[in-house]
């Protein structure tokens, strides 16, 4: 069953259609990578799926819920969203930031219980930030902060993950580890939709690729095939060469 269903989704921002008639679905266990040039509407598409912006037309369903209508608390248990930009107004410690992810699963005072702590521990280990637990979030490097926010999203315990450039600002080793972790997460039954400009990682780890250009879903399919299409060349204004290392690991470079 498709966990995320989009039907004719059109989103207007400031009177301009930024996302146009996108119809697609993501099934349980799928890791979908969204690629496309800057300003193509990738972020807006993710925000529409997350219920953070209302489509002008079309429908969005996440595990059967309309994310705009269902209570946010219900949606947050099923769907986590990693924004591109994240700014905290106050100097929370890393562990506090990660535990904010448990909001939708806590009641009353919301003091962390055993389940919350276990989820936070697992998420911090998965994102390699366990050693930062007591550090102040505002004093972290960009890449460290990115991983902490990702841990917050994972900590939500949602079956669907929407990630806007999860590896932006990460060093190559951490970027690869994050995609490998997402892959493992999806193999365990989760669904992840990740916007990325990291074509190599998208090619290696993505189960399917959506190419978004000028708000439209211009191509979709296996990453290697999508990257080789004429649509991809037109969208980026250059051809993407897909090859394989001697070890058999595929790579993608602008030709």
């Amino acid at each position: 069953m498709a966990q995320v269903q989009l039907h004719g989704v059109t989103v207007a921002l400031g009177g301009r259609d930024v996302v146009r008639e996108v119809s697609a679905e993501a099934a349980a266990g799928e890791l979908i990578v969204i690629v496309g040039p800057n300003g193509a509407g990738k972020t807006t598409l993710l925000r529409a799926i997350a219920g953070l912006v209302a489509p002008r037309a079309g429908t969005v369903r996440v595990l059967g819920h309309d994310p705009l209508r269902a209570p946010r608390r219900v949606i947050a248990r099923e769907l986590a969203y990693l924004p591109q930009r994240y700014e905290l107004a106050f100097p929370f410690a890393v562990e506090e930031v990660v535990l904010l992810g448990r909001y939708a699963r806590q009641r009353g005072l919301g003091l962390a219980g055993d389940a919350d702590l276990a989820a936070a521990r697992d998420a911090m280990a998965a994102c390699d930030v366990a050693h930062l637990t007591t550090r102040r979030f505002d004093e972290l490097s960009g890449g460290e902060a990115r991983r902490v926010i990702l841990a917050q999203a994972l900590c939500q315990g949602a079956r669907c993950l929407l990630l806007d450039e999860p590896t932006a600002g990460l060093d190559p080793a951490h970027a690869r580890a994050i995609f490998a972790m997402l892959r493992a997460h999806c193999d365990a039954g989760a669904t992840a939709i990740a916007v990325t400009h990291d074509l190599d990682l998208a090619l290696r780890h993505g189960g399917a690729m959506w190419l978004v250009a000028e708000g439209r879903l211009a191509a979709r399919g296996a990453p290697g095939a999508v990257l080789a299409t004429a649509e991809t060349r037109a969208a980026f204004g250059l051809a993407i060469h897909v090859g394989a290392l001697p070890s058999g690991v595929p790579f993608a470079v602008p030709a």
Partner: protein, 352 residues
């Protein structure tokens, strides 16, 4: 155990919450008990500050009457200090702005305008204190709403525009208040001026009684939203994706904070900067988790205003200064210091 009481090195635990709040409550209680015993006396040796013994609490003691003159203003300070600090703390999280405060947001001026208008139109003579208080609350809410609308750029509330909008509204409201004063008769003006000083000097026990219920209720509502305030620190969109019903939460916090400020100002007149100084100092001390910070700010604000009020009536011989003047003398440099801190300056102009 370092970092258990002071600083934020990790998540909040029940023992830490209980212990820190117990200490805050103890300090506040001690301030409240000591304050009415402290006062100035004039004798042949001149003027000096004198502390009465605990015996003054005995109804038979000659000092008992003096004690009862001071008690209403101590109670008023507790109530108003807690309300202003609680509202300041909540507004800072809601607007994601360390400079947000009833005074800097222009809410105090709005409440004053409401009260001045009530005096001018005779609402107060018909409905008494409730009329004045109601008008102050309406003024507070309307101003906060106006600041919110003015400062909003798209869906963002950049801290700098919030402060600018607050200043603009503040200037508008004080000009309007002056205009109303200039068309009022002598007794009305006298009443307005006395009230606008922001002083606990003339507060009556009955006003404290009127203010206590709405303020206590509003503070309890705010504390109930402490977790939402934490989530909102990361912005409305992140809070929504974490599961917060953002629209409802923002409305409740806005209305509740305005109500608090309006009620507090109705009791003693405009008193500034308690809502800025106390949450800021406690955040540096205890960390930013609002489940701890908000109740601690309420208790701390109560204690701080009692201390400021006691200073106001003892610092200059035979003159009772308006409490609001004393808090402003301390508060304005504090405000400027925060403004000049480099990190926050970058955050302010960086928007978000």
């Amino acid at each position: 155990m370092s970092g258990f009481l002071v600083g934020s090195a990790g998540r909040l635990t029940l023992p830490r919450l209980a212990l820190v709040l117990a200490i805050c409550a103890g300090v506040t209680g001690a301030c409240a008990a000591l304050a009415p015993l402290i006062g100035t006396v004039v004798d042949r040796g001149g003027w000096h500050v004198a502390v009465m013994g605990l015996g003054a609490f005995d109804p038979g003691s000659p000092d008992h009457a003096i004690l009862w003159v001071r008690i209403p203003r101590v109670l008023a300070s507790l109530l108003v200090g807690g309300a202003l600090a609680g509202a300041g703390c909540a507004l800072q999280a809601l607007l994601r702005n360390p400079l947000a405060e009833p005074f800097t947001l222009g809410i105090s001026s709005g409440a004053s305008l409401g009260a001045v208008l009530a005096i001018r139109l005779g609402v107060e003579t018909v409905f008494g204190f409730a009329g004045l208080g109601g008008a102050a609350m309406v003024g507070a809410t309307a101003t906060l709403l106006a600041v919110w609308r003015l400062a909003r750029i798209g869906k963002q509330l950049p801290p700098a525009t919030v402060v600018l909008a607050g200043i603009a509204m503040s200037m508008f409201c004080s000009s309007a208040s002056s205009l109303i004063q200039s068309t009022s008769d002598f007794t009305e003006v006298n009443h307005m001026v006395q009230w606008m000083f922001g002083s606990t000097e003339t507060v009556r026990l009955v006003a404290v009684g009127y203010g206590a219920l709405p303020i206590a209720a509003a503070l309890i509502v705010l504390i109930g939203y402490a977790r939402e305030l934490n989530a909102l620190s990361a912005g409305a969109e992140v809070a929504a994706s974490l599961g917060v019903a953002v629209g409802r939460t923002q409305t409740v916090i806005f209305v509740t904070s305005s109500l608090l400020v309006g009620a507090a100002i109705a009791v003693v007149g405009p008193i500034g900067f308690i809502g800025l100084i106390v949450p800021h100092a406690l955040r540096a001390l205890l960390g930013p988790d609002h489940r701890l910070l908000l109740p601690a700010s309420i208790l701390g604000g109560a204690a701080a205003l009692v201390v400021f009020d006691t200073l106001a009536r003892t610092i200059i011989p035979l003159h009772h200064l308006p409490t609001g003047a004393v808090t402003a003398v301390v508060g304005v440099p504090f405000f400027i210091a925060i403004l000049l801190r480099r990190k926050q300056r970058a955050a302010m102009w960086g928007g978000g």
